[in-house]
Amino acid sequence: MLQKLKYLFIAVVFMVSVNYSWGQCLTFAKNSCKATMGSFVHDGNYNSTILSEGETAELFKTFFEGQTYRIAISKVDDLPPIHFKVVDKTGRILFDNKDFNFQMVWDFSIESTQMLVVQMQVLERPGSKDKISGCVSVLFGLERKAK
């Protein structure tokens, strides 16, 4: 009976910690991701979640002509790098951070308004059986003095 109670207790602690970690993504986004905005102002939108190794996410956004945007992707230290691409509505790849050593902060100058998609995938550690999970945030910065 005590053994059963022990398992139940562990299960409760696990559930509560998962729930708690969701709330922690805001703190993570504010403390870690916003710091990468530099001279850009964060647009105020909140896009954060918990991802595991190998998992993907996509973000749809309209980018407006004359504005330079900073896309800043942040992850908790333990997670492997994030592979991210920016594609147009036909799937044409416009930027791939794989070509730039998996940089997670990049600027985009928009000369023609477009709806673009930011595709992300958490890379997997080779040969690892366990999968690590953690907060991933995508923030958009706006150049303060647009052209």
């Binding site: 139940l8 409760v12 559930m15 993504c25 986004a29 504010k30 002509e65 023609s112």
Partner: protein, 307 residues
């Protein structure tokens, strides 16, 4: 002793079910959703395949701050009369009214502050704080936020940072506390107010401000983002259902607006500057009649939101 054990197990059982419910609520409408993209913009099949495989989809609307920057860049003037009156706040008692008008006042605050309207900005921030409190997200905008705003009113960069942080806090607290539908309503309220400000100002200006009309035309793309964002919660939330049908009324009008890319979207990357320039040739068309019916519909929806 045995009874105590059974009681303990019952108690743990209840706690576990509650924890499971809490977790499932957090994940509800987010993970594993195969949201359907509104297929008015042409999209190839490979793209849809990739999209469907994704575990998580985000839809990012132009925030109140971004919209205000777009409006200001179109060369318009400040006009306080078109904003939601400060005193209207006493009308907002339901969660839906508070969420929509938190978005609306956030848009008004962004517009006022970009035009250095100190007193109005403080009033709109105070209203946003009251609505955030009404929604139970006291920490989103607190006394310290107002104080920092007062102290930095002459520093537009700091003011923009404060507005950005307040909006992010409101959005995040609602999303992460099992109230994502309310977070969506805040975003929709802010987007509609931005559209209201833009359409109204374009009618007021003598030359019908072509730059501003161009920005309005491209809100057609943002509208698809709005609709897809709402799709996630449609069906499970009556308020979202109703708002969705209003946004669909806007869509019927926007469908008559033409945006055509006449070339491929091209990108040039400068690795040293860590900058990619994205360009394409495109043509847009919106008839006078369509523009008038769009302005009328925006006015109608926005009036319902603020009354």
């Amino acid at each position: 002793m045995k009874n105590i054990f059974y009681s303990s197990i019952k108690l743990f059982g209840i706690v576990i079910i509650a924890a499971l419910l809490a977790v499932s609520c957090n994940f509800d409408g987010k993970k594993g959703q195969k949201a359907s993209i509104i297929d008015t913009v042409e999209i190839d099949s490979q793209f849809i395949d990739n999209f469907a495989k994704s575990k998580l989809i985000f839809y990012s609307l132009p925030s109140p701050l971004e919209t205000a920057m777009l409006i200001k860049r179109a060369g318009v003037v400040y006009n306080e009369e078109i904003l939601n009156p400060i005193d209207n706040i006493s009308k907002y008692t339901t969660n839906r009214q508070m969420a929509l008008n938190l978005g609306i006042y956030s848009a008004d605050l962004s517009y006022a502050s970009l035009f250095d309207q100190t007193q109005s900005s403080l009033k709109y921030m105070a209203n946003s704080k009251k609505l955030a409190e009404g929604l139970g997200i006291m920490d989103a905008i607190d006394e310290n936020t107002i104080k920092r705003l007062e102290e930095n009113m002459n520093n537009r960069d700091v003011v923009m940072d404060i507005i950005s942080e307040s909006f992010m806090n409101s959005n995040a607290y609602l999303t992460e506390n099992d109230r994502p539908a309310l977070a969506v309503m805040v975003l929709v309220g802010g987007w509609v107010e931005g559209l209201h400000i833009a359409t109204t100002l374009s009618n007021i200006s003598d030359d019908n401000n072509q730059k501003l009309i161009e920005k309005i035309i491209y809100q057609k793309l943002s509208l698809y983002t709005v609709l897809n964002l709402m799709e996630t919660y449609k069906g499970s939330n009556e308020d979202i259902n109703e708002l969705y049908s209003k946004m669909n009324e806007l869509r019927v009008i926007f469908d008559k607006v033409k945006i055509v890319n006449t070339s491929n979207v091209e990108a040039q990357t400068d690795p040293e500057k860590r900058l990619t320039t994205i360009k394409a040739e495109s043509e847009t068309f919106m008839s006078k009649e369509v523009f008038e019916s769009l302005c009328k519909k925006v006015k109608e929806i926005r009036s319902q939101f603020i009354s």
